[in-house]
Amino acid sequence: MRRSRDRARRSWRIARALLSSQYATMLEYRAEIALWALAGVLPLIMLGVWQGSGAGVAAGLSPQALGRYFLAAFVVRQFTVVWLIHVFEEDALQGKLSPQLLQPLHPLWRYLASHLAEQATRLPFVLVMLALVALWQPGILPMPGPGRLLLAVLAIAAAFALRFILHIILTMACFWTERAAALDRLLLIPYLFLSGLVAPLSTFPPSVRALAEATPFPSMLAFPAALLAGEPVNVAAGFAGIGAWCALLLPIALLLWRAGIRRYAALGA
């Protein structure tokens, strides 16, 4: 009993130290993070295209619903960005991973903390961009009630967790090849076109939609975005989908990590 409490206290201390130190680092890079936030404007560009075309109305989406959806997709995208493979590749190649392996803490926690800290740094910039869009087209700002908002935040966090796990699997390629970061480009393609980032899933032809929904990508974006936009959505099924994908991918990720670490040690250089 006492032991488990000590353990919980220790974990809490570590988490707090990690998060606060990572947050301080990220604040140093706030100019860059502002640019990253700006780089997430793709849903807003797509909103421009969709509003100019009759395709949204043909699929039963009013201009306002279209606007809300893409704005919500913009917010979800901002807080589910994962750049693990790029930093990990550098750390593995330059040997910065070695001292981390000596610490009594799984190195992946550190990367997770820096992602969370980056999101906290990103928040004010996203709010400013949302305010600008609201000035331009006041009608399209999603206004979920407090319950919906809480659910949407939870869904975004769950979607981020799923993306992070998927990226761990991809990142483990760093142990086998020197230029693994190129793989990120490949993973980005199905995410871009099947998640609902560039087109709402309801505009897809039924067969393509079924195909997309068989992949984890819509859970990463379309589901949280629909929640945030206030569309009617099956909440339980959405969360269950994310949970199932996490349960499937996490063991694979951990297994690959073990195999990769053994290889890293074997390289020894």
């Binding site: 140093e28 640019l35 990253w36 700006l38 560009i45 295209v49 395709a55 490949l186």
Partner: protein
Amino acid sequence: MVRANRRSRLQRYRRTLLRFWGTALAAELEYGANALVELLAVLGNLAGSLFVLSLLYGNGRSLGGWSWDAALVVLGLYTLLDGFTSCLLQPNLSKIVGHVQNGTLDFVLLKPIDSQFWLSARQVSPWGLPGVLAGLVLIAIGLANATPPIGWRDPIALLQPLGLGFTLLLCAAAILYSLWFLMAGLSIWFVKVWNATEVLRTTLVAGRYPVSAYPPALRLLFTFVLPVAFLTTVPAEALLGRASTGWVAGSLLAAVLSLIFSRVFWRRALRHYTSASS
């Protein structure tokens, strides 16, 4: 005497460029698996873009007054320019930031060659070629099916839109280069902004669609602030044989001005540069 001097200088730059690219290619070809990744990325992106375009065009709709085939030419030009970016701009200009951060820019400045030339042309990557090729194929398909049909029977009449389109494509490349160089060069002032070029790349995605597809406010933005219109829409119109004098003149002017501006900008940046230690 002056002319001979200039010619020998030009030859020196040409020889250096060949050496640069020879060594860069040799280094890149060490990573053969990248070719497969790039090929898959280009094909995947193309399939996705065509899919989204087909969603927008379903049931006989049109986009900003552009027919499907005309929009294919725009998408082809975008793919082509994206390939050009992967070949030349990205491998070179994304490294400027690293040079500033690590202080290795000093070594570049000490070399007996123009520093802007070195920074812009030192590397070349073959992995953008699939994009260039796919873009050319898309443009050809779009042009072949476009209405009014391009007169294939009459090569002389064909020469004019193709020539003008090619010229405007060169202008687009010049504008794109200047934008990239500007974003990368800003790192001299803001050392910690190392991803500015990636931001540029993601916002230029707007060039996949003709600029008239956007609402008026964005159209202005994409013409005067972020000149996406000159990158894909204007060359596409020329290729389709419906170029307007105003846009062509604007494109030429924008290209010349942006090149001059990049030069002036680099001079100022170097005056401001105080090396890594200070």
